[in-house]
Structures are given as C-alpha cells and as structure tokens.
C-alpha cells in the first residue's frame, strides 16, 4: 500500500499497463508535455515517448474514431477526452463504431479501448465544462461504463479497463483528482467489473451513490449516525455491468432506498437504478425511492448558484430525514 492521489493512481495504472503491454498507448489533447488538462498523464510522455503518448490536434471525432481502428488492428488505445461535456463530439464514433462493431460483424471484430473522461462540476467551469454524461453511455449496448470514487478503485478499475476486450467509458470526477488514499502496489491489482462495494454498513436505509457522491454519502452517514440513523452506502463502481444483486440485497435489509448522483435527474443513472428496484425489489420498499440529483438545468457559473445546484451531504441528510 502507498498513499496516492486519485490522479496519481490513474497515472500509475496507465504506466504499469504500458510497461506490461507494448500495444497500450495513450492519445488525447495536451496529454504529452502539458501533462493533461488535469495533470493525469503527467510525465508519462517522458517515460514512454511521443509515439505512445500522443498529443492530438483538437479532433475528438478522430481521437475516438482512430481509437476504434487502432483497437480493431491489435493495439490498445487509452484515449482522453478532456471534459465529459465534450463527449457529444465523438458520440457517433462511440455509439455506432466502438459499441456496435463486435455485434455488427457477428463477433469477428472487437474493440479493446478505453476512453478516460473527466466528469462533473464544482470548479466554476460553467455550463460546457461541468457536465455528467454517464447516463448516455449506459443506454448504449456494447459499452462498459466505469466510475471510480477513490484512488484505489481508480487504479484497479483502470487497469481492468485497459485489459478488457471491449470498449470502456471511464469516468473520473474532477474534484476527486486530488483526493488521496491507500493504493495497492501489486502490478496485477485488478478490480472486477460488476462488483459493487458496500462502503459502509447500515440497517436503516440504503444509499446507492456514484463518483463524488460516494464521499458526500459517507459524510452524510457519519452525521446521521450521530442521530442514531444507520445508513448503508453502496458504490456500484461500474454502471455497466451493474451489480443489481448487491443493491437488492441491501434494500431487502433496509426497506428504504435513496440514490445519490451528481447528474441532472431526468433520464439519469439514478433513474435506471430506481427502475430496476421498482421492477425487482418493489416489495422490499417501505418508503418511496428518492433520487438526490442535480436539477434539470445546465450548470451555472456563479459559485453561489453552483453550490445550490450540486447535490451534497446536506441535501442527502435532508432527504434521508424525510424517509426515516
């Protein structure tokens, strides 16, 4: 174990996989000498050279489209799209090429690629640099969608993503980049997809949270415990595949479900989780499900408005108190 920031853990995962496998390479805008807009690729270009750490022009469509072609021909691209809000640009390449190639070719082709995506708000970056777009990709069959909430998961999940034979959309939260934590040093430390983690046990209510909301949920849980309310916090870690069983098991125990994500509420991953429980765990529910998400609006610039916009531990606590 060693203490690493979320960003460092991601960098270490890429470095280890590039050491292990010469077909792994990185491409994206300013991932080289600039070190990445959020510093995640850092000094990797010095270690691996410009051939394997490729600075691209401003060309998201070609970044993802060429990643598909590279993956189909035997290399393993790890592409960075600078902001989750830019994911609309290469959407066709993700949706019609990366996600469908295996199925359309009847299993002849496959596309082992990763797209890393800094996700989320909280830095005053306003409407076009603060989005959470994970829901779109969970609705695209053929993609795996990953969203680590801490440094250890970041490393173990990214290593698994790079080794996966299928396209993986890998969301990272900007605010988490400098969160630190203990990270295993084993070069084969992999976290399997589709296995949720119970971050905190509790019997009164289940909170399923993703990304940064896992931290907020745990903070809320601590505070609630002071009032004798024992909350269970579950982090799915991968949105596709999704560990349905873990959530249903917990809801069976607690009888109450709150889902907390930073997304705009309508059509969110939170909605999907609610739907799954309404279909397969309805009789466990003693209370209506609650989604604690952002309002259905773009992200405002003003810090005052942005704070009002974002779900946080206070908003979770308020919602829990209405339920128990």
């Amino acid at each position: 174990m060693k203490k690493l920031s979320y960003a460092e853990a991601l960098r270490e995962a890429m470095a280890e996989e590039m050491e292990r496998d010469g077909s792994v390479f990185i491409m994206g805008e300013d991932v080289g000498i600039f070190g990445g807009c959020f510093g995640v690729t850092g000094n990797l270009v010095e270690r691996f050279g410009e051939d394997r750490v490729r600075d691209t022009p401003i060309t998201e469509t070609a970044i993802v489209g060429s990643a598909v072609g590279a993956a189909m021909t035997g290399s393993r691209p790890v592409a960075e799209i600078m902001f989750a809000g830019f994911m609309g640009v290469p959407m066709d390449e993700i949706f019609n090429q990366a996600a469908k190639m295996c199925y359309m070719t009847g299993g002849q082709a496959h596309v082992p690629m990763v797209i890393r995506v800094p996700n989320g708000a909280g830095i005053g970056a306003a409407a076009q640099h603060s989005e959470r777009t994970e829901a779109w990709f969970t609705h695209i069959p053929g993609l795996k969608v990953v969203y680590p909430s801490n440094p250890a998961d970041a490393k173990g999940l990214l290593k698994s993503a790079i080794r996966d034979e299928n396209p993986v959309i890998f969301f990272e939260h900007k605010i988490l980049y400098n969160h630190t934590g203990d990270v295993p040093e084993d070069k084969d430390f992999l976290i399997p997809f589709g296995k949720a983690e119970v971050k905190r046990e509790g019997s009164d209510l289940t909170i399923v949270a993703t990304g940064i909301l896992v931290s907020h949920a745990l903070t809320a849980a601590e505070k609630l415990a002071e009032d004798g309310i024992q909350v269970e916090v579950i982090d799915p870690r991968t949105l596709v595949p999704f560990d349905k069983e873990a959530v249903l098991k917990s809801v069976e125990k607690t009888g109450k479900l709150l889902i907390a994500t930073e997304e705009t509420k309508r059509g969110s991953v939170a909605s999907e989780i609610a739907a799954v429980v309404a279909e397969e765990g309805l009789f466990y529910l003693e209370q209506p499900i609650k989604r604690v998400c952002a309002p259905d609006a773009p992200v405002p610039f003003s810090s005052v408005l942005e704070k009002a916009y974002l779900p946080d531990s206070e908003k979770i606590i308020a919602a829990v108190k209405e339920m128990v």
Partner: protein, 328 residues
Amino acid sequence: MKEANEKLKKLLEDMLVIREFETTVQKHFAEGEIPGFVHLYLGEEAVAVGACSALTENDYITSTHRGHGHLLARGGDIKKMMAEIFGKATGYNKGKGGSMHIADVSLGILGANGIVGAGLPIAAGSGITAQILDTDAVTICFFGDGASNRGTFHEALNMASVWNLPVVFVCENNMYGISMPQYKTEGRKGQNIKDVSDRAVAYGISGVTVDGNDVMAVNEAVTEAVKKARQGGGPSLVECKTYRWRGHFEGDPTVYRSDEELEQWKKKDPIPRFVKILKDQEVIDDKGYESLRSEVKSRIDEALQFAQDSPNPDPSELTTDVFYGGAE
C-alpha cells in the same frame, strides 16, 4: 510475362465477379428475398479492383455502405457474402450485419460502415497500429464524394498527415451522394470544387484524380500511394471518378439525374474497356473471355443456392456478440 498476364486476367475476373454478384443481388432484392437497404457497386468495379490489387495480405481496408465490391476485390468468400446479404446464419456476420455491414475481418476488412465517413478515422487508427506495433501494413480507406463533406474526412486526413500515417484515402467520386451532385457549376451541389483531390492541399499531402473506370489507372495511382505509405512517406488522397449505374439504393427512382447522363457513363463501362485492352495485348481471346464469364456466373449461382438453402439464425443469437468473449 505469363505472370503479368495472369495478374491482368485476375483484374478482369474480379471485376466480372462483382458485376455478376451485384446483378444477382439486384434481381433477388427485387423479388423480395433480401430485406433492408442494398447499395450496389455496378459501374464502379474498376475502383475496388484497381485499388485492392495494390495491397498485400497483411494490409487493411475500410469499406462503406456500398461495400460488396470492396469485399469481393479483397477476396471475400462469395457464399458467405450472399448468405449474409440474405440474413442467414451461414453469412459472414451470422446474419446480424447484412449488406451494409458485411465484412471479413480476417482479410483485414475493418467493417463495412453504414455511417457515411465513419471509415476515415478508423483507417487512421489502423495506421496508428502500424506505428505502435511497428509493422509495414498499409490501410486503404474507401469513401465517397459525399463523405468528403463530413467532418470525419477533415479530422482523419489532418491526423494522418500530422502523424505521417500509412493510409491511402481512396475517394470513389461517383458524382452523387444520394440525390446531391458532388459538383455542378450552378444549383445544388455537395461542394464547390471540381475535384475532391483539391482538398489534399489543406493537409499538406499529395492528391491525385484518376479515371475510376480505368482499372489500370486506378491500380497505378494506388500502387504508388501504397508504396509511398509503406516506405514511411505518409498518407495520400486518390480520387477515382466513376458513376453508379443503379439508384442510390435499390428502389431509388433517380429523379435527380438524366437518362442521358447514365447512358454516357455506360459507354465508359470499365469491363469492356479493359477486355479490349486484354484482347489487343492477346492476354485473352473471345473464347477465353466467354469461359471466364460462364465460370464466374456458375460460382455466383452456387453462392445464391447456398444462401437460399441456408438456415436463418437461431433466436438465441439475439444477444450474443454484444460483448466480445461473452456477457457483461
């Protein structure tokens, strides 16, 4: 000499195979045996054959919605192709892809694409792999005149240029994108330039335009571009001017073009033109040509029979291949 003649005969044979194959598909689509959209390559045979004959086994191509010709020119199995177009379990894609997505990945075909212009960045990516794995593979990217107006054209050629990727971009300028003329002096047009190859300047790469109904001319230009790419000289743009004989897809009444225009182009049919050359050079005689044709015809008939007799996919196939190596 003899070998050279065999190569020439092979070019003719490949064009005849495409001609026969497409004519057969046309007929059976009309008879309602084939579902979905079918885009035929009739009239454009010289482009796929001239270009693919410039490649070696380990090279790659990206194909399009009008892809039958590319796959055939690359040596695709006629039976598996016909079966796929009929949506049968014995098809290349197990009946899941159909005409628009038919491909033999083992032949280095990186998918036939229903999204116009999607192949260009994919081809660039194949070029990246050649650099990462240090192979000498070259990738040919087939795309249409209409595709050259998409952003993917711009981004892929720019990327290929700045990274010096071993890719040859072969534009099949058949004068239309559905109903939109590539260029006209006035009125509706896809672009304001006569030759798509003029766009090479924007990326600092070489661009040429050749007669796409002259299989030798296509082969020559593409062979040179492939050689350059293989030697580290980077990408090129080769525009082949040709014409599609049929509507955009089967069923298109082609109200947007004149019969005269079509007739003019039919006079430039790439096959008789090439046959005449081969006869003048005594590479082939009437008898040889006829026997080649009937031999090709019977292979296609066989493939048709195979497709018609093949079973439909089993419904259990519905959710396989969503992910490689099984479920989520």
